[in-house]
Symmetry: C2
Subunit: 540 residues, 2 copies
């Protein structure tokens, strides 16, 4: 794999100077174009010590405009970093669109070194490479240009490099004892590196192997690769932007047509039925099969089988609430002591009672120990990153509770139904979300996901109530009525969400929300149960 | 001080319910207004345990829209927090404009408890209160509405409260042994609290003392105070906005007039002189006194006395660079071992050579240990905070180096000269900056501030050079030429900056920048010197 990087390739000073001016100008021009583009660039430097990783980073900073470059290098994780899944530190450093992130000793560094020193077996190493590949693929599919340079030196070349550094009195500090120790492990290191590169070098995330001995050759290799990659990616994204615009126009046209033809009269019929049901003073039970707008049978969803008639009386509720809260408080204190983090996700249609449930839950907790993160419109820093970035940045510290009022599932719910995300974007999201939640699970986080469900007439009743109660009025917006028009589409989206992301580690809890008392107690008890399970697991 | 909060005041259930609906509606309406306002709200809850701090926080979250409320409570600092000055954790949690931040056990908590337990003396405690007052005043002057509630219980009332909690089997966990220990210290606690409130309760940051025994009385007190304060502040800010608009218009009119009348012909004259000087092939020496645009004698600035003719030959430079870099690398490694952080600030006119100097400096360092933060236009998250917020968020961890390419001094340089900041804003900034830098110094951070100076003709020469060298062209923008037109105003601003912020702990280093070699070596050597001093201090 590395033979091509042990050929002794060099570039003469004259040649280098002849091309460098133009190359520099091109790079700067591309960087200007990049600033208004819709993607970030990630450049990973890995490889043999002494092969010019740091020098390449410095050179890029020197030749290009450092204002739009972020340089990152990683040492031992801090305790804030250790208290989250390992990728948290990388997520928080990702460059925003229009900028270049240079990453040194990043996600490859630890896995490779640990494997070389025999701290991890091959299976675990492969697992880590799979995770890295998923991470890079996710970013690449979001548009990020990923360039990975493996800076190489042959065994003898590395020895020469270390010796020459040692001889120079001003540079000798650079050579540490560990460098020579590592050099002795050169063969294992290269074997591991090969394995890493094979696992993670597919398609959009392929590796560029650079012979690192001659500074001019290596610099030209890195910089021309960078230039060509940015240039090509700019062109590709431009083409894609046009394709997306066309696709979006088609999607919208289709949706408009559907809305005009069908929704109007169907909605009117349903409203009438709902009114009738209300009039009769009973909760309408959903039929077992419905016709879709097109007249075909609508598949039964997980929501259809919920028993929406469940009720809890005020007296039972009060008692249960008191008990469940005391339990929760105790369990949370135990979890805190054992540094187990909890992450609660609340999803549900408008007026399903997410906010109220969350407040009943947090009322028994110490404000020091939990945070509620309401997910509204993203800030511009958030918009300039992958959509999961804003959730990564809010992951709880060890032993704390974070409650998400709406969450990353927006991607496969509202963004899907309203057409904010393209079909391939939300389709891809299921896998991305599973990957994300798997990392949480592996880190030991307790993750509970609630979908609070209410029937369409119950929502209507609550909307009307909000219109009349002054202090609830602000909760109701035009958007809510608009979302309501897509009721069926939401149901199908929820069904698919539960199907695809309800994993063993992170199952969905479907909450019958027509009766608020029932919903709140079910939620509280579920959280207690999950905490109890997790705590039992740790003692065992 | 607290007698007024030990009167046994209560509110009946009927009275509470009669007013609560309207109050709730008013609060929500105000919150909507707040969302588009130009300031954030900070609500601090402090006081006696059991007096309803947590309950008040929960109630506000319940009655208002939690999407625009951030609740913060503080525990032991994490290591990332401990590695920065104590206020770093509070800065990173400040709410953006339009939002409400609820702060529990925050900046008052530790100082008060430490004093009660005799860990700090009165002088140190007073010092801490002074710092808090400066912090709150800074935010208040920036427009933040600060409300501080002292939730109070008399000694007997607290006893009753603890006992009643203990009796309730579901609540008893809330009472810890430390609560009774603290109760025994009630008198010391109250004495300390009084001192704290006296020191920090002036003008815009005054305290509201609330009797905490009756939940309804306490809730109404807090919520009506909150309502009234937000309402008044909205009105005040609205009036102020109009005044500011008028002031800004006047400032602009004055500036335009000056520009039209004076700048044009004066600039032409100066340009001719510069061209002549260049033609003669010598570096023009600045005259000892110059006439201002108005014809009065321009005061001599610190920049006028710099010897701008200093030169370092290529050979001397190469040797010195090698030596200084090796020194720096060694000193930085020592500083890292001893966990001493370094913060380097680079300021200077356009084309002064900031970027080049920074790269010469960082080239010898390990990418893991330093970060360069270029200060360009703020993001919208940054714009929504106090102008110092964006610098606090980038403070280095223990043992690391952070380099600011432009800095918080923009406030008293470009923002002053270009009129982006109002006169009282940049005037205030000197004290705010000194306060900020004092915290860095007390934390033990090595802070070095460089002003790289070049003469006006040297800048002209460099601009022209940039126009011709392709890969330097991007560096030159129209803005640069515009900034140049304000040369004299910048000089006066620099002079005042050095005068007012050149403190003993954080002196300015003025660098003669006409010769790049000289400037780079002077900078490198200065950083080494300062590090050496600091390291000697720690060993001693």
């Amino acid at each position: 794999m590395f033979q091509t990087a042990e050929l002794g390739q060099t570039v003469s000073k004259e040649d280098f100077e002849r091309v460098s001016d133009e190359l520099r100008t091109e790079l700067l021009a591309l960087q200007q174009d990049l600033r208004t583009a819709d993607f970030p660039v990630i450049v990973v430097f890995a490889g043999v010590d002494g092969a010019g990783k740091g020098e390449s980073v410095n050179l890029i900073n020197e030749w290009m405009d450092p204002r739009w470059i972020v340089t990152q290098a990683y040492d031992e994780p801090s305790d804030e970093e250790r208290e989250r899944p390992p990728f948290w530190r990388f997520w928080r450093d990702l460059p925003p669109v229009g900028q270049i992130g240079l990453f040194q000793s990043c996600w490859y560094s630890r896995p490779i070194l640990e494997h070389v020193h025999g701290q991890t077996g091959t299976a675990q190493f492969d697992e880590q490479m799979k995770r890295i590949l998923a991470f890079e693929k996710m970013l690449a599919e979001d548009g990020t240009l990923i360039l990975k340079f493996w800076m190489h030196l042959g065994k003898e070349a590395q020895k020469r490099r270390l010796k020459s550094l040692e001889k120079d009195p001003l540079q000798s500090w650079r050579v540490k004892k560990s460098d020579w120790r590592n050099w002795k492990l050169y063969d294992q290191f290269i074997a591991t590196a090969e394995r890493a590169l094979q696992h993670t070098g597919t398609g959009k995330t392929r590796w560029i192997i650079v012979e690192g001995e001659d500074p001019r050759f290596r610099s030209l290799s890195v910089l021309t690769s960078l230039r060509d990659a940015i240039r090509k990616h700019l062109a590709d994204r431009c083409q894609r932007a046009m394709a997306v615009a066309a696709q979006r126009a088609a999607q919208n046209a289709k949706r408009s047509a559907e809305l005009v033809e069908v929704h109007d009269h169907r909605d009117a019929i349903e409203m009438a039925a709902a009114a009738e049901a209300r009039h009769k003073g009973r909760r309408r039970k959903e039929p077992t099969a419905t016709l879709t707008a097109e007249g075909s049978i609508r598949p039964r969803t997980v929501l259809d089988v919920l028993d929406m008639t469940q009720i809890l009386t005020k007296a039972d509720y009060d008692l249960a609430l008191k008990q469940a809260r005391a339990d929760l408080a105790q369990l949370c204190r135990q979890a805190k002591e054992r540094r187990i983090s909890t992450l609660l996700v609340f999803e549900g249609v408008d007026a399903a009672g997410k906010g109220g449930s969350i407040r009943r839950l947090t009322a028994g907790l110490d404000a020091r120990d939990y945070r509620v993160i309401p997910i509204a419109a993203p800030t511009d820093e958030e918009r300039a990153h992958h959509y999961l970035w804003r959730f990564w940045r809010h992951l709880p510290r060890a032993g704390r509770v974070t409650v998400f009022d709406r969450s990353w599932y927006g991607r496969v719910l509202v963004e899907r139904v309203e057409g904010f995300a393209l079909v391939d974007e939300w389709m891809r999201a299921y896998a991305e979300i599973n990957e994300f939640e798997e990392q949480l699970a592996q880190h030991g986080t307790v993750l509970v996901k609630f979908w609070i469900h209410i029937t369409k007439d119950e929502q209507y009743r609550r909307f009307k109530e909000r219109e009349t109660i002054a202090y609830k009025k602000w909760k109701l917006t035009d958007e809510d009525w608009r979302n309501r028009a897509n009721w069926e589409a939401y149901e199908l989206a929820v069904n698919e969400m539960v199907e695809r992301t309800g994993t063993r580690q992170a199952p969905w809890v479907l909450v019958e929300g027509n009766d608020k008392n029932h919903a709140r107690i079910k939620i509280l008890r579920t959280v207690c149960e999950r905490l109890r399970e997790r705590l039992a697991l740790t003692t065992a």
